[in-house]
């Protein structure tokens, strides 16, 4: 599993020097259960099952602050994306289904919000 995550993300978690700048930069810290530095650490120590149970994978904003500020070019956001993909690529594991949409629909909501949510949350 670790190898899959590493391959599809293209991230080498061993480059991490555990400085915590990703987590310091994360605007979604209060919402997420696991934080960017933990993603890196847990992928490295092959604790991917726990990450796949995490609700944080649906709360990462993909704002790339952790990618931008990491002094070792680790790119934690790509790991979070890879774990989320590993989950939703499984049968019946879509996080969002079309019938959930209408109730969430605000007339002013731009298309891109829905498109991105679908892209991020289902296969």
């Amino acid at each position: 599993m670790m190898e899959t995550i590493r391959r599809i993300s293209g991230v080498n978690p061993r480059k991490c020097m555990k400085c915590g700048k990703c987590t310091a930069s994360c605007p979604a810290y209060d919402e997420m259960d696991y934080h960017p530095h933990q993603f890196v650490d847990m992928v490295e120590s092959d604790r991917i099952g726990e990450l796949m149970q995490s609700r944080g994978i649906y709360l990462c904003l993909s704002c790339f602050a952790c990618v931008e500020r990491c002094p070792r070019s680790v790119e934690p956001a790509k790991l979070i994306e890879a774990v989320r993909l590993a989950v939703i690529r499984q049968q019946g594991m879509d996080h969002l289904t079309p019938d959930q949409i209408p109730e969430k629909l605000d007339p002013a909501l731009p298309q891109q919000a829905i498109t991105s949510a679908f892209r991020k949350y289902r296969k």
Binding site: C19, G20, T23, A24, S25, H37, A65, R72
Partner: protein
């Protein structure tokens, strides 16, 4: 044909683990001309050297091949060994089967095969070796130190102490360097000025030391023992010999708004200025970019108030040429620019400062008179956040890949001083690792935590947001498992340090090598740490790598010791591997002379016997072996093949090529 002995070293298991040394000795022993071949555990040990010497006597060897580590490591050792056994030291060749074979290959079979081939090449070469005798060249008994910071000053003082003349070239108007800007020094907290300024005065008053301040080296020629250096003395527009340093001009100059570089732009100076009260030499300097008189020809206030008549608006740069036996690079460091790290809002808020700026804000001679006040509004900061490793340990182009080494300790010092002077402040230090290897260093850091109550937090700051007069710091607390939000009044960034920008062009002039970070490379990382690989060039202080003051001073003195060792010799043994023309083939075309970077080649009209008892007068090249450095440029330039390089002759290299391609 030579009688060659082959000695294969195991280097413990370094070679023997990958290369079948016995087989190498066996195969090479059957090469033509080889009369003896053996292998031994440590050829460089006393027993190993004796083994070689005994073999030279017993088998009457005329050439020796050692298959061992790099010639850069032990060529000199083995040459001496053979010399002691009565063999010319240049009859030795080394086959590098460690760095270039056993250490880089894993497969025993192919490594052994390669070791044999490298051995064969060395044997082929040694057959064509000829005994060489070294000449000598005189040593100019004067040293040049480039850079007048604590490193340069210490080196110069030590060299002068041994009785040699030494010149310091400093590009700034005063010597003293970074240490003049520092307030207190760790781990004893004595005042930097109190321990530095006496040394500056010593240097100025020492009759063996000459200081060229506000000057730069513009060219270096020559070689160890005989460097010829040109120094540009930049125009100060003030006569150094007349200026008394009274400072009146610096008070009257109407140009008041020039950022004061000594205080890192935290306050202003005039267009004519003395950097600080203890400057050496204490003379004024006109900043030509700021002076109205120099720009427009109108003003002249400083000239009017100067009672000594020292102001000279027409002063020009002058050049000094001098000869030196040794050169010491002591060009120091600078903190990096932080414009690429604006997540810390350095360019968005004056209350985000670098550690060096904090030194000025805490220094009694600084812009705030030593009271720590916020640059924005002059209030006392109550909450101070220190961020370590800003730009250090970065693997991208924004920062530096190395640890800047000094930041952990000066941050502990700053945090401690803040808490000591202002006990009502809250001080946070965000760290990745706290690195305190040094005498009394960890104790110092622990005191900051235990006695002074500095909050050390394992984590990093991610974002600083200036808002309503505060700095909202968002950071991680990795051990506490939380994201912290601190409303700080002052944020201090421990910026990475980098070599001074003058180091790179200087290295080119000195032909001294640098690493990818522009630090000077030492001749050997462990055994020759204060010498550059270029003979006669030595390294002092942070130009070789990040260093704190005690380390800098230690290295400065070590560099001085090396210089003294060199200058105390009357002459140096020259490298005998020099170019040698075959006069019978030389046609006097001057091609070699044109490519020689040392001017070692001259021409002589010489009489040669012609046919029918005639005498021909021909112009032929002559090489001065004391000046030739043996690069070989001339050997390839020579159209008639008359020029050859001893020790690396055409025939020798071709023999190696043949042996490898066999």
């Amino acid at each position: 044909m030579q009688r060659v002995g082959v000695f294969v070293c195991w280097c413990g298991s370094n070679i023997a683990a990958t290369v079948d040394v016995e087989r190498v000795a066996d195969v090479l022993g059957r090469e033509p001309g080889v009369v003896f071949a053996t292998h031994y555990q440590y050829m460089c040990s006393q027993a190993g050297q004796e083994l070689i010497q005994n073999a030279i006597h017993e088998y009457d060897l005329t050439g020796v091949v050692i298959c061992s580590c790099s010639p850069r490591m032990h060529e000199v050792t083995f040459r001496k060994t053979c010399e002691r056994a009565g063999l010319n030291p240049y009859m030795v060749e080394i086959a590098n089967i460690r760095e270039q074979c056993s250490w880089i290959h894993k497969d025993r079979e192919s490594a052994t095969e390669k070791a044999v081939i490298l051995g064969r090449a060395a044997i082929a070469k040694v057959h064509l070796n000829a005994p060489l005798t070294s000449g000598s060249s005189p040593v100019k008994k004067r040293a040049l130190v480039i850079g007048g910071g604590i490193a340069g000053i210490q080196t110069a003082l030590d060299i002068a102490e041994a009785g040699f003349e030494v010149d310091i070239v400093e590009k700034k108007p005063t010597i003293g360097g970074k240490m003049t800007q520092i307030d207190k020094t760790f781990p004893t907290l004595d005042c930097a000025a109190c321990i530095l300024t006496p040394k500056m005065v010593d240097a100025a008053q020492n009759e063996k030391i000459h200081i060229y301040a506000y000057s730069e080296v513009t060219s270096v020629k020559g070689f160890v023992g005989n460097f010829r250096v040109t120094i540009r003395r930049k125009a100060r527009y003030v006569d150094e010999t007349k200026c008394t340093g009274c400072g009146l001009c610096t008070e009257k100059c109407p140009q008041k708004k020039i950022p004061n570089e000594f205080n890192l732009g935290l306050d202003n100076r005039r267009a004519i200025y003395i950097p600080f009260a203890q400057a050496v030499p204490k003379v004024a300097t006109i900043d030509p970019a700021a002076c109205t008189m120099l720009k427009t020809g109108k003003c002249g206030v400083c000239s009017k108030v100067c009672t000594a008549g020292a102001i000279d608006y027409r002063q020009k740069d002058t050049y000094v040429e001098a000869e030196y036996g040794a050169i010491v690079a002591a060009t120091g460091f600078n903190p990096i620019k932080l414009d690429k790290f604006d997540e810390f809002a350095y360019s968005q808020s004056p209350d985000v400062v670098t550690s060096l700026e904090l030194e000025r804000l805490m220094n009694a001679a600084g812009p705030t008179g030593g009271t720590l006040l916020r640059p924005s509004d002059g209030t006392h900061p109550k909450t101070i956040v220190f961020v370590q490793c800003v730009g250090s340990r970065c693997d991208d182009a924004k920062g530096k890949p190395y640890c800047s080494k000094i930041c952990c300790m000066y941050t502990a010092k700053h945090a401690m001083l803040c808490r000591e002077k202002y006990p009502d402040t809250d001080v946070y230090v965000f760290y990745i690792d706290v690195r305190t290897p040094g005498k009394n260093f960890d104790e110092f850091y622990r005191r900051a935590v235990e006695e002074y109550g500095v909050h050390y937090i394992k984590g990093m700051v991610g974002k600083v947001v200036p808002e309503n007069g505060k700095l909202k710091v968002q950071a991680s607390d990795l051990l506490g498992g939380r994201q912290l939000h601190i409303d700080a009044d002052l944020v201090v960034l421990a910026a990475a340090i980098e070599p001074d920008e003058s180091a790179r062009p200087l290295a080119t002039m000195l032909t001294a090598s640098m690493d990818t970070n522009d630090f000077f490379t030492e001749a050997h990382a462990k055994l020759r740490p204060v010498e550059s690989p270029t003979a006669g060039v030595f390294l002092s202080g942070a130009c070789q790598g990040p260093k704190d003051i005690p380390e800098t001073v230690a290295q400065a003195s070590a560099a001085a010791a090396k210089v003294i060792g060199l200058l105390s010799k009357d002459s140096l043994v020259c490298n005998p591997c020099t170019a040698k023309p075959n006069e019978l083939m030389c046609n006097g075309c001057s091609s070699c002379e044109k490519v020689c970077p040392y001017g070692a080649i001259t021409y002589l009209d010489k009489e040669f016997r012609g046919p029918n008892r005639t005498v021909l007068l021909r112009r032929v090249a002559q090489v001065n072996p004391a000046v030739c450095q043996g690069c070989g440029a001339c050997t390839v330039a020579c159209p008639s093949g008359a020029m050859d390089l001893q020790g690396f002759s055409n025939q020798q290299i071709l023999a190696e090529v043949d042996a490898i391609c066999r």
